[in-house]
Every structure is written in C-alpha cells, then in structure tokens.
C-alpha cells in the first residue's frame, strides 16, 4: 500500500508566541483536488507555509510521498515535487513573462557552472526548456504576452502567471493559495478550468480558497480549519451539511454558507 501523497500529522505552529495552528492532521491522496477552507485567521496560509518549508512547525510531522519533509528548506521541498503559489501576486516583476516561465522551470534543467562555458553541451537542454516555457504559457493563455514585462500584465493575467510559475516544473503536488482572489466571475471560471486541467495532467492539488462556490464545485474533498484545528473533513456534500462548519462560518466570515449553494 502506497503512502498518501501528503500526510500532515499533529502539526503545531507558533508565530511570535501565538499558536497559529494547534493540532493539524490531514492527508491528500493522489489525483484529487483537496480544499483547505476556514474563516479568516483559521491558519490556512500558516499551514501552507509549514508544508512548503517557509515556517518550521513546533510539533508534528509532514510527510510527502512517505518521506519526511518537516523542517526542510522550501527549495528542497520544491525539488521533491511539492510547489506552492502565493496568496499575494508573486511574479518576477521586471523580467519578461517568458523569462518568468524559464526561471520557474529551474528544476527541469540541470546545467551547472561548467555548462555555462560549454554552450554546445546545454543547447539541447535550453531548447527543451524554451519549448516547455512556451507550452506552459500557452496552457495559461499568456503566449501572446510572452515578451511583455511581467509587472505590465493586468491583474488577472498576473494571477494566472503566478499559477503557471508554480505549475511549470510539473510538481506532483501543487498548493494554490487563493488563486481566485480578486478575480471577476469569468476570470474565476477560467481559473477553475485551469485547475481542472492541471489535475487531469496528473498534478494533485491542495487549494486554499475563499470563494465557496468554486470550492464546492471543484473539490473532491474539503478540509475545514477553524481556530487552528480541523473541524470537518469530507466530500463537498457532507461539508455543506456539517453543523459545526455552518456554525463556524455563520459566526465569523460572510463568505460562508450564503454562497455555498451556488
């Protein structure tokens, strides 16, 4: 029996003396879209930061494909095939969109210092990376903007580029932190289609998202976090009816149940 793709067990995280996440345990199986939801301040981004190595949990363990990744650096975790996107728009602003894609394909190349001085040895690799970059940009519909400076893109385009950067090196698990934040309905629909395509391509997705309509439609499973701990874990239909989830949402954030039926 294979271990789950991602196993988070009894993780506790403190930030500046405060317990941000008290006891977090959940799993992500291969091929699913799993959403991590919860009211503001529930600890979702903190959990993401811990899984991807930007924060070190005080207690507990995180395993990726059966290998312990607790406390590894973000770059090591990325190299293992676990990549995240960021809640705030995160791109390489003063480079072109195409160069952004090339930079994000770092893990798909191998050329080192010596290779820099032997151009012929890397020509093949460079060509392959360029092709992959174009494919990736086509995938998110930014091929036409390949030559533009990344910070000159419209907001929605920047968000898509951010997802493209995270997905570029074809990670096995992709963590998306509010990919639809600030998008209009048609852009949100595009974003959803993009996530489905990524899943169909074989990338497992762990999603943090506030747009409940989107979460309910796209997720295979939903994990609900409130005040640093998990209060529900199951398929969308079960979550929608879960009394504790409804109470948590009605008690705080306005986005909750009202949109859930959409």
């Amino acid at each position: 029996m294979n271990p789950p793709l991602l196993a988070v067990e009894h993780v506790m995280i403190r930030i500046g003396g405060l317990v941000a996440v008290s006891d977090l345990s959940f799993m992500v199986e291969r091929g699913q879209v799993v959403s991590l939801i919860g009211p503001n301040g529930a600890g979702k981004t903190t959990a993401f930061n811990a899984i991807t190595g930007y924060l070190r949990p005080r207690q507990g363990s995180i395993h990726f494909e059966g290998q312990e990744i607790t406390g590894l650096t973000p770059e090591r975790i990325a190299a293992l095939g676990l990549v995240r996107s960021f809640q705030r728009t995160s791109i390489f602003g003063s480079s072109t969109v195409f160069d952004n894609a090339l930079m994000a394909l770092h893990l798909r190349g191998r050329a080192g210092l010596l290779a820099a001085f032997l151009p012929f040895s890397t020509q093949q690799e460079e060509e392959r990376l360029r092709e992959e970059a174009m494919t990736m940009l086509g995938f998110v519909g930014l091929l036409g903007r390949a030559g533009a400076r990344a910070d000159s893109l419209a907001y929605g385009e920047q968000r898509r580029l951010g997802i493209a950067l995270a997905a570029a090196a074809t990670p096995r698990l992709l963590l998306l932190d509010e990919p639809a934040a600030g998008l209009n309905p048609s852009e949100t629909a595009e974003c959803m289609a993009l996530i489905r395509q990524l899943r169909d391509r074989g990338t497992t997705i762990l999603l943090v998202e506030h747009d409940m309509a989107m979460v309910m439609r796209i997720s295979d499973r939903i994990v609900v976090l409130n005040q640093g701990r998990i209060i529900a874990d199951g398929p969308p239909e079960a979550i929608r009816r879960d009394p504790e989830v409804i109470r948590a949402y009605l008690g705080s954030a306005p986005q909750g149940g009202a949109h859930a039926a959409a």
């Binding site: 930007y54 960021f86 809640q87 932190d177």
Partner: protein, 290 residues
C-alpha cells in the same frame, strides 16, 4: 590581576563613548531604516570642530565641546533634509549608496580643510594620572566617562519622558501606524537623524582630546559603530549600549593580552563571528510569507 583591573577601567571608559556612537546609529536604523554610513564622519566632524574651537578660536573647553555637539546635530539635520528626505521612497541599497557618497564628501572635506596631519585637542585637565590603588586613570578620561554616561542617561530620559521621544519610539516600532496616529514621521526622522548625529559628534569631541584627530579616523570609527550595533542587534537601543561596552572591553583586553597590533581588528572579527554563528539571534525583523 592588577593589569586586568586596569584594562577593565580603560575598557569602561572606551565603552562609554562607543555606546554613544552605537546608540545614535541604532536609533537611526530603527526609526528610519537607514544604514548611516556618515556616522563615523560625524564623529570626525565633532572632533575637528572641538579642535577648531579650542585650539584655533581659543574658546572655553567645555563650551567648545557643547558647540561641537550642536554643530554636529545641525549637520545631521541638514543631511536628513537635503539627502534622505528626497530619497524617502528609494530602496535601501540606493540610500546606502547615497550615504556612502555623503561620507566620502565629508571625509575628504575634512581632509581638505584640516590637512592630513593628526591634531590633538588641548584640554584643561592635568597630565598626571590619578591613582586608585592598583589602577591609575587620567582625569580627562574620567571626565569623558562622566559626560558619556550623562549623555546616555539624558538620551534615555528624552526617549522615555518627552513627547518627541514617544513619537520616536512609536515610529521605531511601526512607522505606518505611528503616522496614522498623527505622528509626523518626516519631522521625527529629521529629529532622529539630528540627535543620532549629535551623539556621534559628541563622542568625537570627547575623544578628540584623548586620541589624535585625523581625517580618516571616521572610517574606522564608523565601522566600529557598526560593530557595536551588530553586537547588540541592529535597531536595539539597550543592545547598543551593551555592544558599546562589549567592544570597549574586547579591544582593551584583546589589545592588552593578545596583540596590540590587531587591537582594532578584534571588533571586526567579532562582528564576522557573531554574524556567522548567530545571525538569527540578531535579525529582529521578520517577513511574512504568502
């Protein structure tokens, strides 16, 4: 043992002025996020002003020290208004480069105005040491220590007890919130830079009669100020005082027991060691990810 006691006393005296240097630098970094490369040059400026007023204009010694400090404060205010204010929105590297440019201008202006020959500020104190048991101290050095401590206490009172001090501390903690609360951050910055510069000039004016005054001394002193501040943690006020005394002792004991030639190098080696071994303990600012 006797020797150790003597080093302890010398280290304390040196440490007092180092603390003055460090506290100004760390205050400026804390409030303004500016790495002030002109700090050492303001020290040199203070020393030269003291020399000019005492030796050339033949003013009263104590009055000269006061005037030198005030002139340093005014120069600091001018640098802030002319240089830092226009660069308020620039990134930290640009500001650092501009400050290095300013330091270069100040240092060479000193060189031009005063020539390369080192000067000694004449002082009214007796040249014979006071002897306390195993330890002997020059009266001038005791005076320096006394004034340094008085300035440190005065500075602490300013921060704790005055409106300006409260505004500074608020900006120190969170400039954005402070400005929302009605603190005029622009003027707080000017005042901060002026006071920090004044403390550096005071340190220079105080040590001018003890050591020689030379145009390039600002380089070394500036670096020592950084050493002090890093020892105590950049932006940490009590840390700067501790760091100042720590550097004073390290130099005094290192110079006394290990090697006189490398006396000045101990501080830098200490910085490199501290930064290499415990950088996480010193970096006070955390960044949010995501």
């Amino acid at each position: 043992m006797q020797q150790a006691l003597q080093h302890l006393v010398n280290g304390t005296i040196l440490g007092g002025t180092y603390a003055l240097l460090g506290i100004g630098l760390t205050l400026i970094f804390g409030v303004m996020r500016v790495v002030n490369f002109t700090h050492g040059e303001l020290y040199a400026f203070g020393a030269y002003m003291a020399y000019g007023l005492v030796a050339l204009l033949r003013l009263d010694f104590y009055l000269s020290l006061l005037l030198a400090t005030l002139l340093g404060t005014a120069l600091g205010a001018a640098i802030e208004l002319l240089l830092l204010r226009p660069l308020r929105r620039a990134d930290i590297d640009s500001v650092m480069l501009a400050m290095i440019g300013a330091a270069l201008v100040l240092q060479n202006a000193n060189m031009w105005a005063w020539g390369g020959v080192a000067k000694l500020v004449p002082s009214p104190f007796a040249g014979t040491p006071l002897v306390f048991g195993p330890v002997s101290v020059m009266p001038l050095r005791l005076f320096v220590l006394g004034i340094s401590c008085a300035l440190l206490v005065g500075f602490w009172l300013l921060l704790e007890r005055t409106r300006a001090g409260i505004a500074m501390r608020a900006t120190f903690q969170d400039a954005e919130t402070a400005s929302l609360m009605g603190v005029r951050v622009g003027w707080v910055s000017t005042a901060t830079f002026a006071i920090g510069s004044g403390l550096a000039a005071a340190a220079g004016a105080l040590l001018g009669p003890v050591f020689m005054v030379s145009p390039t001394m600002g380089d070394l002193v500036g670096l020592k100020a950084f050493a002090i501040v890093i020892l105590g943690g950049l932006g940490n006020l009590p840390g700067a005082v501790i760091g100042g005394f720590a550097l004073g002792y390290v130099e005094e004991f290192g110079g006394g027991f290990l090697s006189t030639e490398y006396r000045d190098a101990f501080g830098f080696l200490l910085i490199i060691l501290v930064l290499a071994v415990r950088p996480q303990g010193l970096v006070a600012l955390k960044e949010r990810v995501g």
